[in-house]
């Protein structure tokens, strides 16, 4: 297995008022270039903590994260994050929000005109070029999340990190965005780690699903390879017995073996 991104024995302990809290324990996984990996688990199990460690926003107490055999321990645009609540800067327009990242990443390698072009290109990719001059307050939640994705993609990250990117959206908008993400993934072949708590979303989008056990001391319980052929179509999959089998396996893990004691 190749060594594009690897987490090796990652663990983290938070200092709290009630003493140390062991959030993650011995998380190890190797992710290949171009792979779409989702992490699923009950809320509070530490999914986001794993993502934040890879992003460099949190520092692991033990273990190491290697990207192309180099240790990552600080945030950077090579690991762009799509945040759950979009985190667009409300005083900038949609275009300016994306451009901010583009200017930062390609300050030396692209000319002004090229950066402008690249910003617009990424907005087109998420079908948001029509709202370029609007401010985040003027567009819907789904649109904001599209812009958040464009901002992350425009940084040409080595790994794209998505923290429950569709969690705050209604079901229809979510489906639209999932389709968009699949299209973009087919086109660009990004390496993606996505956090989710939605079983259908995990099976539909992933190459592998990493299932986390309940915290404290959460760790990887099981990894499921999703061998459904791409491109995937949600309607066709609804009839596909193999899809239901995979879905059943995730559900079995979440609701049988890892049922929260007091959910």
């Amino acid at each position: 297995m190749s060594n594009y991104l690897s987490l090796e024995n990652v663990g983290i302990t938070f200092k709290t008022q009630n003493g140390p809290f062991r959030a993650l324990d011995d998380v190890s996984i190797k992710i290949e270039k171009g792979e779409y990996v989702t992490m699923i688990g009950h809320s509070g199990c530490g999914k986001s903590t794993v993502l934040n460690i890879v992003a460099g926003l949190l520092t692991a107490t033990e273990g190491v994260v290697l990207l192309e055999n180099k240790e990552v321990n600080a945030p950077g645009p090579d690991r762009a994050v799509v945040f759950q609540n979009h985190s667009l800067l409300p005083w900038l327009t949609v275009y300016e929000n994306v451009r901010l990242g583009v200017d930062k990443v390609f300050a030396k390698t692209k000319s002004k005109a090229e950066r402008d072009e690249w910003t617009k290109h990424n907005l087109k990719l998420v079908h948001m070029e029509h709202a370029m001059d609007k401010r985040p307050g003027e567009i819907s939640g789904g649109m904001k999340q599209r812009v958040g994705i464009a901002r992350a993609l425009a940084m040409e990250p080595k790994v794209l990190l998505m923290d429950e990117p569709f969690g705050a959206l209604d079901a229809l908008t979510r489906a639209h965005l999932q389709d968009s993400v699949m299209e973009i993934q087919a086109e660009l072949g990004n390496t993606v780690i996505m956090i989710t708590h939605d079983v259908d979303e995990a099976v539909l989008l992933s190459d592998r699903i990493v299932m986390l056990t309940n915290g404290p001391s959460a760790t990887i319980g099981e990894i499921l390879t999703v061998d459904l052929p791409r491109p995937r179509n949600r309607l066709a999959l609804a009839e596909d017995p193999h899809y239901h089998h995979l879905r059943g396996q995730v559900l079995e893990f979440l609701y049988h073996r890892q049922l929260r004691p007091a959910a």
């Binding site: 992003a55 460099g56 926003l57 945030p75 950077g76 645009p77 690991r79 762009a80 994050v81 945040f83 609540n85 985190s87 800067l89 409300p90 005083w91 901010l100 990242g101 930062k104 990443v105 401010r135 307050g137 940084m155």
Partner: protein, 314 residues
């Protein structure tokens, strides 16, 4: 369609404190929203009833926004006349006050020597002192507030001092000002400076603290430098809070200047009131009270406009 509905609601409910001058604008806004809605719906009967409903709604808000305040003024007028005729005849009648108002406002920018300047000059001199102290307070207070919001140690260091000084009436600083500057005009400006600085510091610090952690995460992922974070995230994110602080301090400063000028003398609306009291010219005092109030409203509206301009959440 969805966005139309969303836009329609906030415009229809014009807040009760909105001044009457806003009515025509909000009514026309509502009307234009209605036409937009009509276009997308394309059902004539439904839209006519809606237009009718809007027309009625704007009619009732017109009545509410003009009729109710006028009623209050009438009640105050009745009480005033009663006090004049039955309780304290020294309080001038409405008619006398009105006559005096016309005299005062006939030539507000008159200049008959330093002891006889028109009311316009008095207001302008006071405004000048307010703006001077206010600007100085902004120059000092906003940066201090920023540092306070960013550094917990600095906050710990200065918070107790600010908490002791903040509740003190700014006028208590007037003697210190006189001692320091040996002149009344800078002392009055100093008092306004003290008045204005606390809300600016507190609101700026609160604004920096209220910046969502997400914005800082975005900055971290983009690897923005300290200066870039300040310029691209801290400043714009805090601006609405800073302006709230400025708005609060300006309205307090306008109240304080009247009292400060009563003590310092010279040209200014505060000393004008005191001077007229010494001359037992009560109608002038009442006219001055109204003028002070109206200038206060103008200052407040200007700051509200500025605040609205920078309010991203809208």
């Amino acid at each position: 369609m969805k966005s139309n509905i969303v836009r329609l609601t906030p415009q229809q409910e014009s807040p009760p404190e909105e001044s009457t001058a806003v009515i025509p604008e909000s009514a026309s806004n509502a009307a234009s929203t209605a036409t937009r809605a009509t276009k997308s719906v394309e059902k004539i009967p439904a839209s006519t009833t809606r237009n009718y409903a809007l027309w009625r709604a704007s009619g009732t808000t017109l009545i509410k926004n003009i009729f109710l305040p006028v009623l209050t003024f009438l009640v105050v007028g009745v009480i005033w006349s009663y006090i004049h005729s039955h309780i304290a005849p020294e309080i001038p009648s409405i008619a006398d006050t009105w006559t005096r108002a016309k005299e005062i406002l006939a030539d507000p920018l008159a200049q008959n020597g330093p002891n006889d300047m028109g009311i316009g000059w008095q207001v302008l001199y006071s405004l000048g002192r307010v703006l001077g102290g206010f600007a100085l307070a902004a120059i000092v207070g906003i940066p201090v507030g920023f540092v306070m919001g960013m550094s917990e140690n600095f906050q710990k260091a200065v918070q107790p001092l600010i908490q002791i000084l903040r509740p003190v009436s700014p006028l208590a600083w007037l003697p210190i000002g006189l001692l320091l500057f040996k002149a009344v005009n800078p002392s009055a400006i100093f008092v306004i400076f003290i008045t204005s600085i606390w809300p600016m510091i507190m609101n700026t610090a609160a604004g920096v603290k209220a910046i969502p952690k997400d914005y800082m995460n975005v900055a971290a992922v983009l690897r923005l430098g300290k200066l870039e974070i300040t310029r691209k995230i801290l400043l714009p994110a805090t601006l609405p809070h800073v302006i709230t602080g400025m708005r609060l301090s300006l309205s307090i400063a306008w109240m304080v200047i009247v009292a400060a000028e009563m003590l310092t003398g010279g040209i200014g609306i505060g000393f004008y009131v005191w001077d007229e009291w010494n001359n037992l010219n009560v109608p002038s005092i009442i006219v001055a009270i109204f003028i002070i109030g109206i200038v206060g409203i103008i200052l407040e509206s200007v700051m509200t406009l500025v605040h609205r301009h920078f309010d991203y959440s809208r």
